[in-house]
C-alpha cells in the first residue's frame, strides 16, 4: 500500500510551489486593484490579511500554551505552529498597502483639506483621536510586528537548538519565554484588534474584543493542525506518532475552543442586547439586515451549533476521517467569521448606524460582496500556506529529541 505514496519531501515542495504561484497571481491582481483605486480592494484584502495573520499569531498562541501546559498533543503541533508563526514577518509587512491608504478603510483616518481629522469636532470619536491617528497607528503596527516576529524566531531557534543538542536547557528557555509571551500576545493582539478591526466603526467599542480574536486564532491553528496532521499521517513518523489518544485529545481541544468562541461571542451579544444602548448596538444592527442577517445565523449554526453537536460525541473525535472533515469545515468557517466581522462594518447597511459617521465616509465602501473578496482570501491563504510549507520543510516533522516526547520509544524507531 505505502509504495503508492509519493515521497513526502517532494510532495511538500510541489505544494509549496503551487501555493506560492497562486499567491503570486492573486496578489498581483490585488495590487493592480489597489493601484487603480478599486473601492472593493480593501475589504477583500483586509479579510485575507486577517486570515493569514490569524494562522501566524495562532501559531504563537499554541506554542505558548504547549510550552506552559506540555500536554502530549502539543508535541505534534509544535513544528506546525513554529512554521506558521515564522510566516508572521512577511504577512505583517503585507499590511502596508492598507497603512498607506488608511483613509480609504478607517473613517477616523479621513482628513479634510487642512489635514485635520473630519472627526475633530465629534464628541465621541473626536475624544479618542489622541489614540486613533496616523502616526500612532503606524507605531503600534511596527511594535506588534517586531514583537510577534521576534517571538516566532526565538521559539523556532530554541526548538532547533534543542533538536540538535537534546539539551534540556533549550526546553527550559522555551518555557521561560512562553509565560511572558502569552501575556504579551494577548495585550498586543488586543491593541491590534482595536486598530485593525474595531476602529472600522470608530464610535463602537467592546472590551472583550481582543479575547474574541484570540479565540479565532486558536481555532485557526487548531483546525489547520488537525487537518494537516491527518494528511501527514499517511507517512511516517506522524503515522505512528499521531495515535488515537492524541487525536482524541486534539478533538477535545477543538470542541473546547468551539465552545469558548461561542461563549465570548454570546457574552458580548447579551451584554449589548440587554441594555439596548444606541451607541453599542450598531455592531449588531449592521449584522441584522439583508444578507448579513442570514450570514449571522449561518455563523451561529455552522461555527457553533452543528460542530458542537457533532464534536460532543466521542466517536467523532476518535474517528480520524470525521474529525478531519469537521476541522476542515471549521477552518473554512474562519473566512466567514472574518468576513462577518469586516464587511458589515465597512458597508454599514443600516442608516442609523451610518448616520453616526461623517458624510465623507460614504465613499469608502463598494459593494457588500465582490469578486475581489474571494481573490483576497485565496491569495492570502495560498501565500500563508506556501510560506508555512517553506518553513515546515526545513526541519524534522516532530521534535523527537524532546526528552518528554522521546519517552515514547516506538516513535523514535519510526523516525529512524
Amino acid at each position: 500500500m505505502s509504495t503508492e505514496l509519493p515521497h513526502l519531501p517532494t510532495k511538500l515542495k510541489e505544494m509549496q510551489s503551487l501555493s506560492l504561484l497562486i499567491a503570486g497571481v492573486g496578489l498581483s491582481i490585488m495590487f493592480l486593484a489597489w493601484i487603480f483605486g478599486v473601492a472593493n480592494f480593501y475589504q477583500g484584502y483586509l479579510v485575507g490579511w486577517l486570515l493569514a495573520m490569524g494562522f501566524g499569531a495562532g501559531g504563537i498562541l499554541i506554542l505558548c500554551i504547549h510550552h506552559l501546559a506540555h500536554g502530549g498533543w502539543g508535541f505534534l503541533l509544535r513544528r506546525i505552529a513554529e512554521a506558521s508563526a515564522l510566516t508572521l514577518l512577511p504577512i505583517m509587512l503585507l499590511y502596508l498597502p492598507i497603512l498607506f491608504s488608511l483613509d480609504r478603510v478607517y473613517p477616523w483616518a479621513i482628513r479634510d483639506a487642512n489635514g485635520v481629522s473630519v472627526y475633530a469636532n465629534d464628541p465621541v470619536v473626536g475624544a479618542k483621536l489622541h489614540y486613533l491617528n496616523h502616526g500612532f497607528f503606524w507605531l503600534r503596527w511596527i511594535i506588534i510586528t517586531a514583537i510577534w516576529s521576534g517571538a516566532a524566531m526565538l521559539f523556532s531557534k530554541f526548538s532547533k537548538l534543542q533538536d540538535e543538542t537534546g539539551d534540556m536547557k533549550w526546553r527550559r528557555k522555551m518555557r521561560f519565554i512562553a509565560g511572558p509571551m502569552a501575556l504579551i500576545y494577548i495585550l498586543t493582539l488586543t491593541v491590534g484588534a482595536v486598530d485593525w478591526v474595531m476602529s472600522l466603526e470608530p464610535a463602537w467599542f467592546s472590551s472583550i474584543f481582543g479575547v474574541m480574536l484570540a479565540a479565532g486564532h486558536m481555532l485557526s491553528m487548531l483546525t489547520f493542525g488537525i487537518v494537516f496532521l491527518t494528511w501527514l499521517s499517511k507517512w511516517e513518523p506522524v503515522k505512528t506518532a499521531f495515535t488515537a489518544k492524541r487525536q482524541h485529545d486534539l478533538g477535545k481541544l477543538l470542541f473546547a475552543f468551539v465552545v469558548f468562541w461561542t461563549y465570548i461571542e454570546l457574552s458580548q451579544f447579551i451584554i449589548y442586547w440587554h441594555p439596548n444602548l444606541s451607541e453599542e448596538i450598531t455592531w449588531y444592527m449592521n449584522r441584522q439586515v439583508g444578507g448579513f442577517n442570514g450570514l449571522s445565523w449561518f455563523l451561529f449554526m455552522a461555527q457553533f451549533a452543528i460542530p458542537f453537536l457533532v464534536l460532543i460525541s466521542r466517536s467523532t473525535k476518535q474517528n480520524r476521517k470525521a474529525l478531519f472533515y469537521v476541522a476542515f469545515f471549521l477552518m473554512g468557517m474562519r473566512i466567514i467569521d472574518l468576513y462577518w466581522m469586516i464587511a458589515p462594518s465597512i458597508n454599514m447597511p443600516v442608516p442609523e448606524a451610518r448616520a453616526l459617521y461623517p458624510a465623507e465616509t460614504k465613499a469608502m465602501s463598494g459593494s457588500a460582496f465582490h469578486l475581489l473578496d474571494i481573490v483576497g482570501v485565496v491569495s492570502f491563504a495560498a501565500l500563508w500556506f506556501g510560506l508555512f510549507l517553506k518553513n515546515f520543510r526545513s526541519r524534522p516533522i516532530l521534535p523527537v529529541n524532546d526528552p518528554y516526547f522521546s519517552i515514547n520509544a516506538e516513535i523514535k524507531d519510526a523516525e529512524a
Binding site: V194, F205, S206
Partner: protein, 460 residues
C-alpha cells in the same frame, strides 16, 4: 523502602512517593478515626474559633430579620452593598473545587487527585455562605420561594429577562451538581471508613452513606461512568455560574458595570480567589496532619501556577476596564475610571491593585511557589484583593454615576461587618467538621496514584 524515586526529565519528583497501598489508607483515615482527645490543638483551635465567630452571624441574622435591611448601610445611589459583594466573593471561592474536580479531571491531570476532595468540600461550604446573602437581602427570607417560577395564585411570575433570576437557577444548579459530585466521589471512601472506624454509631452512619458499596468490579465500573458524566455536567458550571453573576452587573447601563469583558474576567477572578482559599487551608493542614507526602510542594507549585495564570487574566481585565473606559469616548465611563483611581475610595482601588496585580507577580519565582509560608501570605493578599475588587466594582460605580445631585458615600455598618465575618465563622466550622468526619484526601484515588507510580517504576 530504599528504592530510588523515579524523577521526570525536569528533575521533578512524582506526586506521591514512599507510600504503599495500605499506608495511604491508614494515614488518611487516621485523621477521622483517631480518638477525639488526640486531635491536634490546631483542630480544637479552629473549631473553637469557627463556633465563636458563627454566633456573630446568628445574631446578625436575628437582628436583620426582626428589624429589616435598614440596619445595613445601603442608601439611595448605593442600593447594593455588602450583601452582593460578599455573595460574589463567596461564590467565587467555590470555583476552585469545580475547576479541580471537573476540568482537571477531564484533562487527566493526576495532581488533582490529592486536592480534589478538600477543594470540592470548600466549594459546597462557600456556596452555603454565598447563598445566605441573597436569601437575606430579599428582606423577608421566608418568602424566598417566590423567586422560583411555580404555579401560584398570587399573579406573580419571575422576570425571565433579569439576570438576577438567572442567578437563582445558576446557583441552585451549581449547589445541586456540586453536592452530587462530591458525594459520588466520597462513596468508595465512605466504605473504607466503615471498615476503619471502631465506633458503632459511626459505623452505622458510614454504612448508610456508602450505599452498600462492596468494591465489586461492577460497582467500580458504574462509579467510573457516573463520575465521568458528573464531571461533564460540572464543567460548563465553572464558566456559567460566575458568568451569570457577572451579568448581574454587566447588563445594566452603569459605568463600571456595563462592559463586555466581565464574564471571562469574573470567571478568572473566581478561580484566582478559589485557589487562594484552598491553599490557605491546605498549607496548615498538610503541616499539622503530617501530609506533606500526599500534598506535596509540587502540588503547591502547580496550584500557584494556576493562580498566577488566572491572576494575570484578572489583571488583563483591569487593564481593559481602564483602556476601554477611556476609548469609549463617553464622559461617564472616563469619569468612572478617574473616580476609581482618584476619588474618595481611591485607597481601596490601589489596595486592590497591590493585592491582585502586584503581589501575585511573586509567583513567577519557583522558589516562592514552593515556599509554604510565602504562598500562604500571598494567598491572604489575594483573598483580600478579591473582596476589594467587588467593593470597587459595586460601590465606586454606584456612589457616583450619572447625576451629580444623587451622589453619596457608602460604608458598611457594624451589622454588615458582623454578617460578613460571621459567614467566615460558618465556613471555618464546616471545614473543621469536615476534617474530623470525612477523609480529606480521596483514599482510593491516592491508592490509584501509588499503583500508577509502582507500575511506572516496574516498566523501566
Amino acid at each position: 523502602m530504599s528504592h530510588e524515586v523515579k524523577r521526570d526529565p525536569d528533575g521533578q519528583l512524582p506526586f506521591i512517593s514512599g507510600h504503599s497501598l495500605s499506608s495511604v489508607s491508614e494515614k488518611i483515615s487516621d485523621v477521622t478515626t483517631m480518638p477525639i482527645k488526640k486531635m491536634p490543638k490546631f483542630w480544637y483551635g479552629g473549631m473553637f474559633l469557627g463556633l465563636t465567630v458563627v454566633q456573630l452571624l446568628f445574631f446578625a441574622i436575628f437582628v436583620l430579620v426582626t428589624r429589616g435591611t435598614g440596619i445595613w448601610g445601603l442608601n439611595n445611589p448605593v442600593g447594593w452593598g455588602f450583601a452582593i459583594i460578599n455573595f460574589v466573593w463567596w461564590i467565587g471561592i467555590g470555583h476552585a473545587g469545580t475547576l479541580i474536580s471537573a476540568i482537571l479531571f477531564l484533562f487527566q491531570q493526576d495532581w488533582r487527585m490529592s486536592i480534589a476532595r478538600f477543594a470540592e468540600a470548600m466549594t459546597l461550604f462557600a456556596v452555603v455562605c454565598a447563598g445566605l446573602f441573597p436569601l437575606l437581602h430579599v428582606g423577608r427570607p421566608w418568602l424566598v420561594y417566590w423567586l422560583f417560577p411555580y404555579p401560584n395564585t398570587l399573579g406573580m411570575w419571575p422576570q425571565f429577562r433579569s439576570p438576577l433570576l438567572w442567578d437563582v437557577f445558576a446557583v441552585s444548579t451549581y449547589a445541586t451538581v456540586s453536592i452530587m459530585f462530591w458525594f459520588t466521589g466520597l462513596v468508595p471512601d465512605l466504605a473504607t471508613m466503615r471498615a476503619k472506624t471502631d465506633l458503632v454509631w459511626a459505623k452505622k452512619i458510614y454504612h448508610g452513606m456508602s450505599l452498600g458499596w462492596t468494591g465489586a468490579a461492577r460497582h467500580w465500573h458504574r462509579y467510573e461512568i457516573a463520575y465521568l458524566l458528573l464531571a461533564g455536567l460540572a464543567t460548563p458550571l465553572v464558566l456559567s455560574v460566575h458568568s451569570i453573576v457577572s451579568l448581574d452587573f454587566a447588563v445594566s447601563n452603569e459605568p463600571g458595570w456595563h462592559t463586555t469583558i466581565f464574564p471571562p474576567y469574573f470567571v478568572a477572578g473566581a478561580i484566582f480567589a478559589g485557589f487562594a482559599m484552598v491553599l490557605t487551608f491546605m498549607i496548615p493542614v498538610r503541616a499539622i496532619y503530617g501530609m506533606k507526602d500526599l500534598l506535596t510542594e509540587r502540588h503547591m507549585n502547580n496550584m500557584c501556577k494556576v493562580m498566577l495564570f488566572s491572576g494575570l487574566i484578572v489583571a488583563y481585565g483591569y487593564a481593559m476596564e481602564i483602556f476601554f473606559g477611556w476609548y469609549s469616548g463617553s464622559p461617564f465611563e472616563r469619569f468612572m475610571v478617574l473616580n476609581r483611581a482618584d476619588g474618595p475610595y481611591a485607597p481601596s482601588y490601589w489596595a486592590l491593585i497591590l493585592c491582585n496585580v502586584m503581589v501575585p507577580q511573586l509567583l513567577w519565582s519557583y522558589k516562592i511557589r514552593t515556599n509554604p509560608l510565602m504562598v500562604f501570605i500571598i494567598c491572604q493578599f489575594i483573598s483580600v484583593g478579591m473582596w476589594l475588587e467587588r467593593f470597587v466594582i459595586v460601590i465606586i460605580s454606584l456612589h457616583r454615576d450619572y447625576l451629580d445631585s444623587s451622589w453619596a458615600m457608602y460604608a458598611g455598618t457594624r451589622w454588615d461587618w458582623a454578617m460578613y465575618i460571621g459567614t467566615m465563622g460558618l465556613f471555618l466550622t464546616l471545614v473543621f467538621i469536615f476534617i474530623r468526619t470525612l477523609p480529606i484526601v480521596a483514599i482510593f484515588e491516592m491508592r490509584e496514584l501509588v499503583h500508577k507510580e509502582e507500575h511506572k517504576e516496574d516498566s523501566h
